[in-house]
């Protein structure tokens, strides 16, 4: 078997790199999304918890972008696949597993745009950036489907186990996060109404005072 390693690396090296980097990217995207949802749900209100979570979230997201970049380069360089620039850059152009690879390309674009937009949030505006950042869950879902549909290791129990074990808490956190965001928007709405009422009452009091 040892004698076959140089031959394997020379013929299938890029394929091995693309598979390894894809799995690393998937693990990191999963971790980043999990941390982001946990952070937003605020389950723990310890001092410093949010700071630690934010740092880990940012680091895993950046590492995931690097892994996705390596995956794209390795797929491009694969001598057997020969996808060409269009195959890796334009969705649904690569003939092999056209649909699943197409959503993979879209997921990669979204990951780069949403991930790097963090550093442009002042220019974009915090409100717009925040609402755009919520679409990161789509990157995770598209990445998961891309891995299941086009991945070479879809049949491996380790991969399937990881995907299921992480998808369930992410789904629960996402639903919880939606609930939290709806409750907080209701609270903001109520607070604004209360403020308006108080202002109206104050104006009425002033009017009564003036009349008197």
């Amino acid at each position: 078997m040892i004698e076959a390693i140089p031959h394997t690396l020379s013929t299938q090296g890029w394929w091995i790199v693309s598979r390894s980097s894809a799995m690393v990217a998937f693990v990191l995207v999963t971790a980043s999304v999990f941390l982001g949802l946990t952070m937003a749900s605020k389950p723990v209100r310890k001092p410093g918890f949010a700071k630690t979570m934010r740092a880990l979230h940012e680091q895993t997201a950046l590492a995931a972008l690097v892994a996705i970049g390596i995956h794209v380069v390795a797929v491009f360089a694969d001598p057997w696949l020969k996808p060409g620039v269009a195959g890796v850059a334009v969705p649904f152009v690569l003939s092999l597993n056209r649909f699943w690879n197409g959503i993979g390309v879209i997921a990669a674009y979204m990951a780069f745009m949403l991930g790097l937009s963090f550093y442009l949030r002042k220019q974009i505006g915090p409100k717009l950036w925040r609402s755009a950042h919520r679409a990161t869950i789509v990157v995770y879902v598209l990445g998961l489907f891309h891995a299941l549909g086009a991945g070479s290791d879809t049949g491996s129990l380790l991969f399937l186990g990881f995907a299921v074990v992480t998808a369930v808490p992410i789904a629960i956190l996402f639903v919880y996060r939606l609930g939290v965001s709806r409750r907080s928007s209701e609270r903001r709405h109520l607070a604004a109404r209360e403020k308006r009422r108080a202002a109206a009452r104050a104006r009425l009091d002033d009017a009564i005072y003036d009349t008197a």
Binding site: M1, A4, V17, V24, K51, A63
Partner: protein, 121 residues
């Protein structure tokens, strides 16, 4: 709580990548070598039918040449299981059918008749 350093994430990711790379390389190499061995075996060993033929034509031990017998040896009849009440199944070789021998043609002896001499006048 202390802020985690990015080094931990980088080292973790690189370690995972290295482990996956090594595992996949070994897996593919093992598959390739198994396939190569199977192909080599298939080339070295002929098909089972050929093996049988060769074994039949080239026996390992030399066999003494068969002595030609004047009378052809009749092939042994296959044994047939026959149920005998009280005994059970009994292997029985059916008796060969009796074939009446053809009578040999014997050429009849011709008696030599001495020529009859007649006197002529």
């Amino acid at each position: 709580m202390t802020t985690p350093r990015p080094r931990a994430v980088v080292i973790g990711s690189l370690s995972l990548f290295a482990v996956l790379f090594v595992v996949l390389t070994f897996e593919l190499s093992a598959n390739a070598s198994t396939k190569a061995k199977a192909q080599a075996n298939a080339k070295a060993r002929p098909a089972p039918a050929e093996t049988k033929t060769e074994a039949a034509t080239e026996p390992e031990e030399p066999v003494s040449e068969p002595v030609e017998s004047e009378e052809p040896v009749s092939e042994p009849e296959e044994a047939v299981l026959e149920y005998v009440p009280g005994v059970g199944y009994v292997e029985r070789v059916p008796e060969p059918e009796y074939v009446e021998p053809e009578p040999e043609y014997v050429e009849p002896e011709v008696e030599e008749v001495p020529p009859v001499v007649t006197s002529s006048s």
